[in-house]
């Protein structure tokens, strides 16, 4: 609870900075929306209607007042309230990011453990290759590469046109995650369609997240395996299964969880590009489109949403750490 309160100043700073940024960025909203043929009067009219002709402090004050009512403003591109747009699109981004993270964890943690337990083995070398590749390949590149190979060359995956193919309809809204909602509705056709669509972008994000997780898992496992209590466990003749999984891995996971939080926030950033490449209707692509249109309210809403997500994320990491580490519970 105190941590939550402690993050309030950061949120205030984010509100101020995004407000200033959207005002100083090049591009004039009024000109953009008036269209190329508009006269100077109509541009001035639009500017007045949007309140863009008033002094900055006044604009900021009315922005904060609206914010306090939960009003993030209107998107000029979609004509909808920004809050509604973001609420509609957030589940798509969240599903993609979480799925990507799951893929990364599913591969990186076992790989890191194997690499640490059998140093110099094939798994160790593979781990090194993956880590190097993961940090050196940008996500938009891996994304395009995957589309090129699996859609264009092999034809294994469907066209990158969003969350579902043209013939499927969205499952009834429960969590907003299509894979979960479709499974709950026992609509396996939609489920397959959603899975086929999400697999490539999720793998793109997964490849990006793989490297830091594998590296930290390996390093943390190595450190724990050299610890004195592992020597005790060996001296007690515990099976290597118990030693590695119960004694070493559980201790090694503590720094890994902290890293996961960091990786997750990187992923939220990487999402913007991946959603663009895969036409994914998430908040990342929404923000990019708004930015290109010099549409300030959605950009501010996006950044604020991200900031809130970071705060919640850190809180979650904290809770998980407390659950894993009895020492954290007592301090």
């Amino acid at each position: 609870m105190w941590r939550l309160a402690g993050s309030l100043p950061a949120l205030v700073a984010v509100i101020i900075v995004t407000f200033v940024l959207t005002r100083v960025l090049p591009g004039d909203t009024a000109t953009y929306f008036a269209g190329p043929t508009a006269s100077a009067e109509s541009i001035a009219q639009i500017r007045a209607a949007l309140g863009l002709d008033r002094p900055l402090p006044e604009q900021f004050w009315s922005y904060v007042q609206a914010l306090a009512r939960g009003d993030l403003g209107m998107s000029l591109t979609t004509g909808q309230p920004v809050l509604v747009d973001i609420m509609n699109r957030l589940p798509a981004s969240a599903e993609l990011t979480l799925f990507g993270l799951l893929i990364a964890m599913g591969i990186a943690i076992p790989l890191g453990v194997l690499a640490a337990v059998k140093q110099g083995s094939l798994a160790d070398h593979l781990c090194r290759v993956v880590v190097t590749a993961g940090v050196s390949l940008p996500v938009f590149f891996t994304g395009l590469l995957l589309v090129y190979v699996f859609y264009y060359l092999l034809g294994w995956s469907p066209a990158p046109v969003g969350r579902l193919d043209a013939f499927a309809s969205a499952p009834p809204f429960i969590t907003g995650f299509y894979l979960v909602d479709a499974a709950l509705a026992r609509d396996w056709e939609t489920w397959h369609s959603a899975l086929a669509q999400i697999i490539l972008p999720a793998c793109t994000l997964g490849l990006f997240a793989l490297a830091p997780i594998a590296r930290i898992t390996r390093a943390s496992m190595l450190a724990v395996l050299g610890a004195e209590f592992i020597r005790t466990a060996r001296a007690s003749g515990l099976s290597s299964r118990t030693i590695i999984l119960t004694y070493a891995l559980r201790n090694a996971l503590l720094p890994v969880v902290t890293t996961l939080g960091m990786v997750f926030s990187f992923l939220l950033g990487a999402n913007v590009l991946v959603e663009k490449v895969f036409a994914w209707p998430g908040i990342g692509s929404y923000a990019v489109e708004a930015l290109i249109a010099s549409d300030g309210a959605p950009v501010q809403g996006f950044v604020l949403t991200m900031a809130i997500l970071y705060v919640l994320l850190n809180l979650t990491i904290d809770l998980v750490n407390r659950a894993l580490d009895p020492r954290a519970r007592h301090s």
């Binding site: 004195e228 209590f229 020597r231 005790t232 466990a233 003749g237 290597s240 201790n251 009895p326 007592h330």
Partner: protein, 320 residues
């Protein structure tokens, strides 16, 4: 007294980047049922390496190059890693210094004892936990049922060492190796910890190897003392004999360097020189020769161990 552990001709080498370290050379000793033997020597003399090598806990660079170590009829040097893992913790157990770091920081202590019982005694979860609580009671931890769910960071160093002992003796091993068990504990706790070990040893007939650099502790707690220097056991004798009539020059020096309650601090004499570099290819047969004031020309010809008196074995041509 039948021997629980019979070590003979036992040598260990470490392969390192900077050369082969001849860490142990033809170490030999026996420990009988219920007997407590102390292995004393300065840091780097090979006491702990002996313990690790016996239990198969050497890291990958360390190899047993020759010799035998027979525990209850089983040669540990010939056992497979799987066989060793079944013997470790069941027939031969070990406790360490710095008990807090030697326990898993995020696992309840009762669970850590129960893990050993489940592994070696094949107990069910519930029986293992009951056994663990019983062990906590035996090592004198108050309110054991409640303490079983405590974590190491919630206990004092002395309590952690009791838990360590409970883990080690839970399966009633025939041999307990205690590696500097009281280092880092305050004096009264040291005495309590050693009393617990002695009590369990006398109850179960467990043989104990006490590894320490503290000659006073060894003198007080063991029936026999083996003195190590640079990977050799230079003298092995009954405690009384060794203290009253040390025959190896190194033992004599070691005793002169040990403070006593009666003696003045100014009477202490340090031992000149250092342990030889064990990576040298031209190690002299007697590794104490360079520091020895009783060196003879014959010392460079070879090293033999001989019984100079009943139950007193030394590695020296020119004993004092």
């Amino acid at each position: 007294m039948s021997a629980v552990l019979d070590v003979s001709d036992f040598s260990v080498e470490f392969r390192t980047r900077s050369g082969i370290v001849r860490a142990l050379d033809r170490v030999a000793f026996t420990v009988g049922r219920g007997e407590t033997m102390a292995l004393v020597g300065e840091s780097g003399s090979g006491k702990s390496v002996t313990a690790y090598a016996l239990l198969g806990l050497l890291d990958a660079a360390g190899k047993i190059t020759q010799g035998r170590a027979v525990l209850e009829g089983v040669d540990l040097t010939a056992a497979s890693p799987g066989e060793l893992a079944r013997i470790r913790g069941k027939r031969a157990a070990m406790i360490f210094q710095n008990p807090r770091a030697a326990l898993n920081p995020i696992r309840p202590i009762g669970q850590q004892i129960a893990d050993v019982l489940r592994r070696h005694a094949g107990l069910s979860k519930r029986d293992a936990m009951a056994g663990a609580i019983d062990m906590l009671r035996q090592v004198g931890i108050p309110d054991p049922a409640r303490r079983a769910s405590a974590y190491p960071f919630e206990l004092s160093g002395g309590m952690c060492q009791r838990v360590m002992i409970a883990i080690a003796v839970a399966t009633r091993p025939a041999l307990l190796i205690a590696d500097e068990p009281t280092t880092g504990l305050d004096v009264t706790t040291q005495a309590v910890v050693m009393d617990i070990v002695a009590k369990l040893a006398s109850e179960t007939g467990m043989a104990t190897i006490l590894i320490t650099h503290d000659l006073a502790l060894a003198a007080e707690r063991s029936a026999r003392i083996a003195v190590m220097h640079a990977g050799h056991i230079v003298e092995d004798a009954a405690t009384k004999t060794l203290l009253a009539n040390p025959r190896h020059p190194y033992t004599r020096r070691l005793l002169a360097a040990t403070p006593t309650a009666a003696g003045a601090l100014s009477a202490l004499r340090s031992i000149p020189g250092n342990l030889p570099d064990l990576r040298r290819d031209d190690l002299p047969p007697c590794r104490f020769a360079a520091r020895c004031d009783r060196r003879l020309p014959g010392c460079d010809a070879g090293l033999v161990w001989r019984d100079i008196a009943p139950a007193q074995r030394i590695a020296c041509w020119n004993p004092t």
